[in-house]
Amino acid sequence: MNLPLDPELLRKRQQAWSRRTFLGKSAQAIGALALGSLVNPSLLKAATATGDQRWRGILSAPHFPPRAKRVIHLCMAGGPSHLETFDPKPRLNALHGQPFPESFTKGQQLAQLQNAVLKARGSSFGFSRCGLSGQTISDLLPHTQSIADDICIVRSMHTEQINHDPAHAFMNAGSIIKGRPSMGSWLLYGLGSEVDNLPGYVVLMSNGPGADQPVSARQWSAGLLPSKFQGVQFQSKGAPVHYVGNPDGVCQSMQRQMIDEVAELNGFCAEKTLDPEIQTRIAQYELAFKMQTSVPELADMSGEPQSTLDLYGVKEPGDGSFASNCLLARRLAERGVRFIQLYHRGWDHHGDLDGNIQKVTKLVDQGSAALIKDLKQRGLLDDTLVIWGGEFGRTPMGQGTGRDHHINAFSIWMAGGGIRPGLSWGSTDELGYRYLEDGQQMHVHDLHATMLATFGIDHERLTYRSQGRDFRLTDVAGKVVKGILV
């Protein structure tokens, strides 16, 4: 048990003891029983109601002025092709069907293309320069084209893991070793949440056109951080949060009565045992009760006007589609949730790339763009960092009618939260095989360092001691990419 080393527990313990020792050392003479009776359960309840149990983060002050207050990560699971979305390569198109130059690929790791004859594959889709910024975006993404001036496209992303599962882990936690906290957990640990009646880190999932690559719950795990920092996946079926609904036959007022009774009896126990954890437990029941109200209220989108539904392209609010999840993400952001992650499983195009990417872009393009527009019109974009992208890119070499996994180059976009809008950052070589080392390259660790920087956090100084060492999101690497910050 790492109890003595957990700063939160230490702090809580100190608080608990300071409450108890307000009588000074003479309290010892009175004895435990007498002192215990001073701890009035109704006072405990009052303390709870003021929310002083909320975790406000390990960082007492930011390391530098923050811009972002929350993240919405639109995770395009499966690995979108940068060559069909944000990174046009005329030379690759010209080379279509020809052998892929060995000078690019020699000695490099491949996934399903191992042992295959490598042929260049051009893109079947056109690109346009968009907006005043003139950023180049695929015609597959007309709605994204319309927000070109709000987003910063990064074309020099690269990662270290070539298979989905470890690549997701690397993108989320900066490591493939299990037990490393994901970025949302790091933010909660560092800054706490602005809301206490909803989880501070929420995950939503959609898929299509088909059932696709699996995504593990480890991707939103708190790892070695206390589990209160883990992400909570909202379910598309049944109760949005597990066990958030009362049992059949129990109405909200009866549930309330039960919680009051539990608190009353827990209070008696606290007096008897002087166990400071009991206060925390009572407070968690209050939070749970609030969640039982606030989660259904959050998920109930019946109050959203038709114009908003149309903006997102939501057919049926709450239908589990990516569009509906984008709208839910805005509602979560409005309520102060710190980290919101939307997975869309549908980007693993080993075959029929042309057909599948048309389908999947139709599913995600409008919602993604609508989210930016909606946040902007509500004044939320300034302090909401939106990240759109997958766990890796795809090969410029064809794999039959598709493309294979690729770690040397992929594209993402970011918006809001202190990111310079309308900016294109970083490039790949003429065939889109590898990022250029031109000072604008961005490794996953750099992305993490930069994301933390938008929150005013020095990524080297948000650490957690476990197993004798200080862990951090960026492991032992990562540079803040200052060029994309406002």
Partner: protein, 1054 residues
């Protein structure tokens, strides 16, 4: 009178007086001790750059080795200094640097994360003044057994040795230990700690009333002998070895390994010495004449996560598996963080990268594939034909005692069920008549011998596709012949299974089963398959076409059994029924084979009715169909003799009539609904027991793979040095690799790990055990006894216990007994405000620590209190209720979670299905780890999710209702006492009673007003609500029970 077991530690201390030596270096002038006072400072602030990781040491100055720190050191600037001059602070460069003001000179540098405090500097100063003595790191030094502290007073000699060690520092600080916990608290604490279950009400009463002096020791012995001790002890071990039911990577398919879990439980129960336990897991397969249990134990080496992802590279994943294994072994047994050395020498401890890969090399003979599939781009010829539903080889087959017992139980239930159905069938005169009609028909068919229950259903028409020709032979069977092979792009075209549509003419009368025989034929060289293939694969659908109709009515197949078949799998598990797919046994390809398909709803065939069979197969050679009115059980040939005699009797006796009615009910069904679904479910469950046969992942030793040191952990780097198996170079008794000598094996490693020479294993195990019973280890960081870990609060006690463990032959039960019989363990856990400043974390052990139950035991405790817990031992993992749709993001294959609908629903948490990528929400909410990585300590959080689980998870709601059902029969005035005794092992206090009575009355009024709500609340869960109870009263008591099951005290052991 007050027995010795009631003598609190505090009284003993008074008897001893405060004559024991003081400890600690807080006061100035007191001796500084390197291990306790100095090493933590140096390690935390200096070793990163001046420690064992030479690559990170730019200055070349080392502070972790005394000789180096005391030697003259020439800086790059040419400046010659000496870091430490013993006794001379001002001459020591270290002191000059740590006290410097100039940012260029000061150490640690101003931007370093860890800075020295004033107290740190003061300690360093005094340490240098006192001669700068180093000590070997405590955990790497040989264990030293100093006798437990003795005192002048004779009383101490009679005291428990643990208490003597604990009292020394307590008395030095003038702190009194706490008094002994009350007996009710004690028995609950001990029973929960040792079995994960609460005591029963009668056990509590018996203990409270037992005034014999050794009552507590008797209790300990009783509880240690419980078979549930092994289950409790297994839980932390299963965290360490990362035991789970699924492989973890990507598709997270299921793996067959539950026998390993049963082995662990059993090992603790039969008190297998820990050294043997170690050897069997790491190298059980290498033991001479290894037993099945030892081979199952070697499954430990297979518990790393595995992948079957297409496009994953074998070499990369073998590197991942190998590193995972080093992390697990070094954490579980050595309490060391060797993970760091995958990429670089350890920053704090003497482990090198070479140590990491040398340890990995011990396991390079473990048969393993990087990717458990054969893909075009990553061929694994040995795994040809393996798909996402296949298990993960190699496995062995063995018998599970649980499954054997379950099969016997199911047979009994089937017989009971049949008797019930028979009675129902015979209830009415119409039913009697129906039985007689049916029995007469069966009798005529059975007369000519056992197999005559089958009537021919000759084919009247046969059509095929893909150019396959069909011929109806005189016996009504159908012969299939392939067209000449076609060639596409120089290769023979791949043949696909194709549908064949046969029209059959079954005998009139009742029909319950359809048999398909696949026959050898000369047209196929005497094979049952076309083209003399070694195996056929067949899927069947059936429909009925009534005479004169054109529309077919589909016939549902309940299940199907084949006499012989090759196992088909779903998600790693062999399928019990072949009704979705029948794959022949390749060994008997020249013999006739048959499968019997049981209709869900038996039918009556009228003259002219036809059966339409669509048989999808690319390879069966010749098939023949027969039908029978007998069904609902095994094939008619296997009718028990007495049943056959009854069916053949001209004048059946009353007893025979009952037998006949039973066969009738199960063959023809009763009423309109077809076959009884309970019986069908039981039959399938029985088949699923596979007569007790099961599989388990094991270690198979093959030629060792080459192990290289991977630069920066890069698996693509083939330039690193090749290493042979060797234990960490600096640890005593190290098994060094010698180029000439024989290669060390896993057996050598295991024997070294659990040897007296190795200073880490016993310390690691005993320290964790201490944490289990006291809340915190003697060294708090149980997964790191290295330099960055914690210097033990009671180092001499830890060493004494560790050597005691070794001396007692690694006897785990003896150690548990030793720990829990100490007065230190038995102290009250009530917090003492007067110690808040002196010892806020209670590390001096002046009291016990309250501790929340682990996830599994939170569940067990509630179900046990309700009398709902199923205490079966072992067997396949079980599936309690789980929110629907939770596995939606899993694929390859897609799967639904099907909750168990029988007594398995109520089994202990240790048996819950452990899906690594989506752990059951109840377990996850209470901090159970996903077991993807070796875990030595669980978090202990308090979250709203836990509150939601206890309030709303149907498991807990149902438990509350069943608890209410237990309480209701008690006389009203004593109900609350009964409930409290069950849940909390005590009586309610007056104000608890008053409060709950008020609450109960309030709830009763509400439920009386809303009877529908009462009905709903008391209907949650699989178990039907008790009959003949007032539902409003039951609901109100359910509400009270919910309160009790949600109390903090209920999920905490005090």
């Amino acid at each position: 009178m007050l027995g010795i077991h009631r003598t609190p530690l505090s009284l003993l201390l008074l008897a001893v007086g405060l004559s024991l030596d003081a400890m600690g270096a807080e006061t100035s002038g007191a001796p500084v001790e390197f291990n306790r006072d100095i090493r933590p400072i140096l390690s935390n602030t200096c070793f990163k750059c001046h420690g064992p990781d030479v690559a990170a040491n730019k200055s070349g100055l080392r502070l972790d080795v005394r000789e180096a720190a005391l030697a003259t050191h020439t800086a790059k600037t040419g400046l010659v200094t000496t870091a430490i001059v013993p006794g001379k602070v001002t001459a020591s460069e270290l002191w000059r640097r740590v006290t410097a003001n100039d940012p260029q000179t000061v150490m640690p540098p101003p931007d370093a994360l860890h800075q020295l405090t004033g107290n740190d500097k003061e300690l360093l100063k005094r340490w240098i003044e006192q001669g700068a003595k180093y000590q070997p790191h405590w955990a790497y030094a040989p264990m030293e057994k100093k006798a437990a502290p003795a005192a002048k007073a004779g009383v101490l000699a009679a005291m428990h040795p643990i208490d003597r060690f604990v009292l020394v520092p307590l008395s030095a600080k003038g702190v009194q230990p706490s008094s002994e916990a009350p007996p009710g608290t004690l028995i609950r604490r001990l029973t929960l700690d040792l079995t994960g279950l609460p005591p029963t009400a009668s056990e509590v009463e018996a203990f409270v009333d037992d005034l014999r002096p050794d009552a507590y020791e008797r209790l300990v012995d009783r509880v240690l002998a419980s078979p549930h001790y092994g289950e409790r002890m297994a839980v932390p071990w299963l965290d360490l070895v990362r035991f789970a039911d699924s492989v973890g990577f990507h598709g997270d398919q299921e793996q067959n390994i539950f026998p390993y879990r049963d082995y662990v439980v059993d090992a603790f129960n039969r008190n297998l010495p820990f050294d043997r336990f170690t050897v069997e897991q790491i190298a059980g397969d290498l033991l001479p004449n290894a037993t099945t249990a030892q081979r199952v134990a070697s499954g430990f080496n297979r518990l790393n996560m595995m992948t079957r992802e297409g496009g994953a590279q074998s070499k990369e994943y073998l590197a991942k598996y190998s590193a995972d294994r080093v992390r697990a072994v070094s954490t579980a047994w050595l309490g060391s963080t060797m993970a760091c050395c995958e990429c670089h020498d350890h920053k704090f401890d003497p482990f090198s990268t070479r140590d990491f890969y040398s340890l990995a090399a011990f396991f390079s003979d473990v048969q393993q594939w990087g990717v458990y599939g054969d893909y075009e781009y990553t061929p694994e010829p040995e795994l040809k034909g393996v798909d996402n539903d296949h298990p993960f080889p190699p496995e062995i087959e063995l018998t599970s005692p649980y499954l054997v017992e379950r099969a016997a139980r199911l047979r009994k239930q089937i017989a009971e069920r049949t008797a019930v159905l028979a009675r129902q069938a015979m209830e009415s005169p119409a039913g009697q008549a129906a039985i007689e009609r049916w029995a007469a028909e069966v009798r005529t068919r059975l007369k000519d011998g056992p197999s005559s229950a089958w009537s021919a259903a000759p084919a009247s028409n046969a059509e095929s596709t893909e150019g396959v020709t069909t011929t109806i032979l005189p016996d009504g069977s159908v012969l299939f012949v392939d067209p000449p092979p076609t060639v596409v792009e120089g290769k023979p075209a791949v043949k696909k299974p194709n549908p064949n549509r046969l029209t059959l003419l079954p005998a009139s009368g009742p029909l319950s089963t359809v048999r398909v025989e696949v026959l050898p034929d000369d047209a196929h060289g005497g094979y049952t398959t076309r083209e003399q293939k070694y195996r056929f694969d067949l899927r069947l659908t059936l429909a009925l076409r009534r005479a004169g109709r054109t529309q077919n009515e589909p016939l549902a197949i309940g299940y199907a059994f084949a006499e012989k078949s090759t196992e088909s799998y779903f998600n790693g598990k062999p399928l019990a029924s072949v009704h979705t797919r029948w794959r022949s046994d390749r060994k008997i390809v020249r013999e006739p084979q048959a499968a019997v398909y049981h209709l869900s709803e038996p039918i009556e065939i009228a003259p002219g009715d036809e059966l339409v069979a669509v048989l999808t197969s690319g390879d069966v050679g010749r098939v023949r169909f027969t039908t029978s009115p007998l069904g609902g059980t095994l094939p008619p040939e296997e009718l028990p003799p007495e049943t056959r005699a009854a069916l053949l009797a001209d004048r059946p006796t009353a007893a025979q009539n009952v037998l006949i009615a039973g066969v009738y009910a199960r063959s023809a069904g009763i009423g309109e609904k077809g076959l009884d679904s309970v019986s069908t479910g039981l039959l399938l469950d029985l088949a699923g027991c596979h007569e007790g046969r099961t599989q388990s992942l094991v270690t198979v030793s093959v030629d060792p793979r080459v192990t290289r040191v991977l630069g920066r952990g890069n698996w693509q780097d083939d330039t690193g040095e090749i290493v042979a198996p060797a234990t960490p170079h600096f640890l005593p008794g190290a098994k060094k690799a010698s180029p000439a000598g024989p290669r060390s094996s896993r057996l050598d490693l295991a024997r070294w790990i659990a040897s007296r020479e190795n200073p880490l294993t016993a310390r690691t195990f005993v320290n964790r055990l201490w944490g289990q019973f006291f809340g915190t280890g003697l060294s708090a960081v149980v997964d790191d006894l290295g330099m960055q870990g914690e210097y033990p609060t009671h180092p001499e006690l830890l060493d004494w216990l560790s050597l005691e463990f070794v001396d007692r032959g690694w006897d785990v039960k003896a150690m548990v007994r030793l720990l829990v019989t100490s007065a230190t363990y038995k102290q009250s856990s009530t917090r003492r405000p007067e110690l808040a400043d002196l010892d806020p974390a209670n590390r001096l052990l002046a009291a016990q620590n309250a501790r929340r139950l682990d996830a599994e035991f939170v569940r067990d405790n509630a179900l046990f209190a309700a009398g709902l817990l199923n205490l079966d031992l072992g067997g396949p993992s079980v599936h309690p209720y789980q929110p629907e749709g939770y596995y939606a993001a899993i694929n390859f294959p897609q799967r639904d979670y099907l909750a168990d609908t029988d007594e398995r629903q109520y089994r202990r948490g240790i048996y819950m299905h452990w899906q690594r990528t989506f752990l059951h929400p109840m377990l996850a909410n209470f901090d159970a780890p996903s077991r993807e990585e070796c875990t030595a300590a669980r978090n202990l959080s308090t979250t709203p999710q836990q509150a939601l689980t206890l309030m709303n998870d149907p498991t807990f709601v149902e438990a509350a209702r069943v608890l209410a059902e237990r309480v209701l029969p008690v006389e009203p005035a004593k109900r609350l006492d009964a409930a409290f005794l069950r849940v909390l092992a005590r009586e309610p206090s007056a104000r608890e009673r008053a409060s709950l009575e008020k609450f109960y009355n309030q709830q009763l009024i509400a439920f009386r007003a809303q009877p529908e709500d009462a009905r709903k609340l008391t209907s949650v869960g699989l178990r039907p609500a008790a009959k003949d109870v007032d539902r409003a009263e039951l609901a109100a008591w359910t509400a009270v029970s919910r309160v009790l099951l949600n109390l903090n005290e209920t999920i905490v052991r005090y």
